[in-house]
């Protein structure tokens, strides 16, 4: 039995949830405390946080810490999202808060945040696996942006971030119009433009039946409104709240005419939330219109659930229900497809690189997570060609750095971009590479190791003809023997490997060789 506290410093509120985890039992939330601290408004419009707000945050976090102590928690995680991510002084503020509270804070990237959300949804709802069998879009409406993730046949197909959130659209895009009668139509038009782009590029002909919206306030409001219509009773807790698109549209018509203060009054909503929920309503309607989804699912999840899930999995208290690594890989494959990468070549390389990684475990000491990064590097290693055949490495680097890959942190993405870059470009050693990219020592070492493996795997399919498929790999003293049973001519591969072997040896002190079992001797 362990207790875990997850704290999320969000743009509108800072929340702590305390969970209890036991092997062979569901994770159980035992406390949930939210403090409304509106960091988003300052962060998005000014780029800095007001000192008073920072102090307020420190006070709340100190109190959270004492509540954590009252449960004598076994672990905790504090994550900050866009409000701290998007200010100029993010690191300074983080350091100040850490020193004042004694808590360690992670400022997580958008893609990490979305991935945690996605994990929260998956571990919250038992019907999740069932829902995503049919075309499903998960839309997470945040303060500064919204994330749309499309699923098809239980695999993540794409995930895109649209830079319009419920706070930012009001404070940045339409600050002057927020009290105007035409606000609804203006915001709808703005959003339509964005959604049209998303549809053309990503959704294409793929039908979407379910729209899962993650927005606590919207969920709360619609649930209340629905219950009022349905039975006059108070909202009931239970499984995921869902309604038909048409029911939503009629509820929308009733609610959209209300002013924020009327929403506060009618739905007993905090004044801040009431202002933001209007944007969520408009987003939701536009999304339904654009995707053609028939059912709207509303979820009240926070990334706290995802953080607890990670803690549970790491401590072997939760058996993963869904393979989230598969989603990251699926999303990467879709990116590779978009950039017309050679799929057969990638698959062959994936097979070889993973094999080398696994056989070399004792030497490199890398974990499962780094294996995943290697796989993604392989999948994306060729994407630069889409832009330019002459400048592949630089183009690939830029594409990867500009593409959000769900589940990966910004740092991890940068590692992949570097690995892909040095697959073909001359490797830069620490003093040089760290001047180009803000990498630390560990990241540098990781890049070197992954690059060495990627280069060897790439050499083994230099001809792009998958001659080495079915190869076996064995580590014999200081030699990595790659045994290939083929009658094909491996001269090109052998020659390329010779070129790449030096770097591999530099990194691992192991020399890779190809041993051909059949064919020419």
């Amino acid at each position: 039995m362990k207790t875990f506290a997850a704290i999320v410093i969000g743009s509108a509120e800072t929340q702590m949830r305390v969970y209890e985890l036991a092997a062979r039992a569901e994770m159980r939330e035992i406390d949930c405390i939210s403090a409304s601290i509106n960091l988003g408004v300052d962060a998005y419009s000014e780029g800095i946080l007001d000192a008073e707000k920072v102090q307020e945050l420190v006070t709340v976090l100190k109190e959270f810490k004492s509540i954590m102590d009252s449960y004598s928690v076994d672990g905790y995680k504090v994550c900050a999202t866009s409000a701290l991510r998007e200010i100029r002084t993010g690191l300074l503020v983080r350091d100040y808060i850490e020193k004042q509270t004694g808590l360690i804070i992670d400022i997580i990237s958008n893609s990490e945040q979305r991935f945690l959300d996605y994990k929260s949804i998956a571990c919250e709802s038992s019907s999740f696996e069932e829902i995503i069998q049919k075309g499903t879009a998960i839309v997470d409406i945040g303060g500064s942006s919204m994330q749309i993730s499309v699923f098809d046949k239980d695999k993540l197909f794409t995930t895109q971030n649209i830079r319009m959130g419920k706070i930012s659209s009001r404070e940045i895009y339409l600050p002057a119009a927020k009290n105007s009668r035409h606000y609804e139509s203006m915001l709808t038009e703005l959003l339509e433009h964005e959604l049209a782009g998303f549809g053309k590029l990503y959704q294409k002909e793929r039908p979407i039946y379910n729209l899962i919206v993650v927005d606590q306030d919207l969920e709360d409001m619609l649930r209340r409104q629905y219950d009022n219509i349905a039975s006059g009773q108070e909202a009931v807790t239970g499984d995921v709240f869902h309604i038909d698109a048409d029911v939503f549209r009629s509820m929308y018509e009733q609610a959209i005419t209300l002013r924020p203060d009327e929403i506060t009054e009618k739905y007993e909503m905090a004044p801040d939330s009431a202002q933001h929920v209007i944007q969520s309503l408009i987003f939701c309607r536009s999304l339904l219109d654009h995707t053609g989804a028939q059912t709207l699912w509303l979820m009240d999840v926070t990334i706290c659930d995802g953080l607890c899930y990670d803690f549970g999995v790491a401590n072997k208290l939760i058996k993963p229900r869904h393979n989230f690594d598969e989603d990251i890989i699926a999303a990467s494959r879709n990116i590779a497809k978009r950039y017309k990468c050679n799929q057969a070549h990638i698959r062959n390389m994936e097979e070889l690189s993973v094999l080398i990684f696994d056989r070399m475990k004792k030497i490199h000491g890398m974990t499962k997570r780094e294996r995943l990064l290697l796989q993604i590097s392989v999948i994306l290693h060729n994407c630069g060609k889409y832009i330019s055949l002459a400048n592949v490495s630089e183009c690939a680097y830029n594409i990867i750095m500009a593409t959000e890959i769900i589940g990966l942190s910004h740092d991890e993405r940068r590692i992949i971009a570097n690995v892909v870059k040095y697959n073909t470009a001359p490797f830069q050693y620490f003093s040089k590479i760290s001047s180009l990219d803000p990498l630390d020592r560990n990241e540098y070492l990781l890049i070197a190791k992954l690059t060495a493996i990627l280069r060897v795997a790439n050499a083994l399919d230099r001809s792009h003809k998958q001659k080495c498929s079915g190869a076996s790999v064995a580590l014999k003293e200081n030699r990595l023997v790659i045994s290939v049973e083929t009658n094909e001519d491996l001269s090109l591969e052998k020659l390329t490997l010779q070129e790449r072997a030096a770097f591999f040896e530099e990194v691992f002190s192991v020399h890779p060789v190809i041993k051909q079992k059949k064919g020419y001797k």
């Binding site: 209890e20 406390d31 949930c32 405390i33 403090a35 109190e63 509540i67 449960y71 108070e234 909202a235």
Partner: protein, 825 residues
Amino acid sequence: MSDQDKIKENAKNAVKAAAKETGKGSSKGSTKSAAKVTEKTAAKSAAKAAEKEAAKSMAKAAEKEAAKSIMKTADKEAAPAEAQTVDYLDPAYYTNRELSWMDFNIRILEEARDRENPLFERLKFLGITASNLDEFFMVRVASLKDMVHAKYTKKDIAGMTAADQLREISPKAHKLVAQQYSTYNRSLLPSLKSQKLELVTSHEELTPSQAAFTDSYFEENVYPVLTPMAMDSARPFPLVRNKSLNIGALISYRGDSENAKYIEKEMEKEREKEREKEKDKDKEKQKSKDRKKAQFATVQVPSVLPRIIELPDEGDGVRRAILLEEMIERNIGSLFSGYDVICAHPYRIMRNADLSFDEEEAADLLKEIQKQLKQRQWGEVIRLEIEDGMNEKLLKILRKEFEVQEEDIYRISGPLDLTFLMKFYGLEGTEKLKTAPYTPQPVPGLIGEPDLFAAIRKHDILLHHPYMTFDPVVQFVQKAAVDPQVLAIKQTLYRVSGHSPIVAALAQAAENGKQVSVLVELKARFDEENNIIWAKMLEKAGCHVIYGLVGLKTHSKITMVVRREEDGIRRYVHLGTGNYNDSTAKLYTDCGILTCDDAIGEDATAVFNMLSGYSEPKSWNYLAIAPIWLRRRFLYLIRREADHARKGEPAHIIAKMNSLCDQEIIAALYEASTAGVKIELIVRGICCLRTGIPGVSENISVRSIVGNFLEHARIFYFLNGSDEEFYMASADWMPRNLDKRVEILFPVNDPDLKEQVRHILDVQLADTMKARELTADNVYERIDRRGKVLLCAQDTFCEEAVKAVPQEVDPRKSRVFVPAEPAEE
């Protein structure tokens, strides 16, 4: 034709005309609704006009009759329109809360007059009426006066302005006071005498030995603490403290005595000096004038000394006592040497004590309350009590200085401030004249359970105080404080007793390293000073103290203990209807539950998070919290019952509380009654709902129980089809509870506990001894006992609580040696 007859006639004509119109309407169909409106308006305005006019006239009985007959006629004629046209908010359907409160105090006075009650209980009841009336004046009357000053003319639910209410209260209060003293003088004093107990009402009646004792007692104990104050042109009228008993006197300078001559000589010297210094002749003239005329002087009867002093035994077997003010009056001359005391009479004032301030503006709540406390004694004088027969000149001075109107002067034929009777109750050797003391019994569910938490894990536990002991609640906190498995304790404190064991346990828990959060409500009226002391002490011990919420009084009574057990975190919760006060728990009837139900634990956690200033939860499992959700919840429960009735299902509400004066709730009850719901209300005090109004409240009964214990529990029962629901709460059905306080409504879910709660309600509804029922004439009447079992609910609960405890059997009593039968052949 008299005025009354005219009003009656007009009203009847209006109703007839309206009914005629209805008849036409129904034949035409299309004009039906218009006719209904006309009829309704006519009937209503007629009823209103009649009532308004009648209120003015002196013939109260005729007015009642007129209003009743109009209502009945209107109802009969308008029968087809029924529920649709009844305006449940009509002021005619409501009683003013202040007048209803006065009725409540009269019910207590009736207990003082009831010869079936032991003598000292009667004295105590009389003392209670006096203390109640004091608070009523300080808070309610004061606030009405404020409204009048502010020219606030909004009407209450019964259609009365503040001025109207004051007009009605005054004669009723005067009548009440007259009744108090007639009870005291004509019934209680003679009864005391017959028990060989005498209160010397006039010091002139003292025997020489008693007089000697009195004088020496005065000199030794009283004189040193007295501070006589006089008023003249140089000395302004002194500040007379709120609620303090004083003796006012007129004194005149005695020019002929030796002492006076000496004083005069001394003063002459002083005057000389002054003359030289100031050359102020006018002032001098004024001073000598002052000396010649009667001056006002006052002395406070010290509250630090006992008000009743027992006199030495005269050997006749009669115990005699004298009141402190009599003793001072007797010796008043010694306070003003050099002066003649022309007259001396006790008086007492009541000031506006309502603690109203803008919390939003108060930077520091604590400081603000402390400041207000100091200001309280400076409030406006709203009542002046004087000894009957007070010297007119003296009275004139008091009236002028206190700026009181004639109607605010109460001439008292007996000792002022009868609250001393509550102290008198404690007189030793009078046990026979009191109800036998009751010892709260062990809680049946906890007998033989060494581990309180283990017992709660087995099943929920119902506590019914004072029949059952309050100890488990104290132990709940005490055990948690030393239990190594306990991680945290959270509690709300509204009014705690002096040297509260709960507060001590909380402090100990904090010292033992538990996380202790306590919400101390600073705004509990008259307890503010007390609460600040506790709050500071707890803070010092390391507790996290929350000083209430801005704009809301935290009235809920909830304690949560968080324990880390083998199978995880478990929360133990106590929810109650009464304060965490071990002293009042022996006198107030209250209910509570101890539970470790997970869902209630979750809600309790959310309550404390909310009280700590964090966001409210999205939804609640079981609890309903005021001021946000409670009103809606009650209305929902009442309306749901009405829906059952409309469907033809049996529908029943039983609600027990202290006061009922919320208009929205009353209107919902009227509506439910009209729909056919049987509603039984047990309301101890204020009840603004009226029973027996045809077509409005025919299905509602109201009873009030005034007994030895103060009825304080709030219990709510809803039949809900056949799925009965039981709730308890810290809240009454009053706007202040539903809108301005943090209150908790909690369900009783355990089937066994439900049965016990139902029993509590049933016994109270069967009370024929201490209950009074509100009649359709809006008066409370004792239950007609003919053909009924004589039952006193409070006594029944006491007996049951004693029976519920397994008695240890004396083996000698049950041991019987049975002689063997001779063996049969």
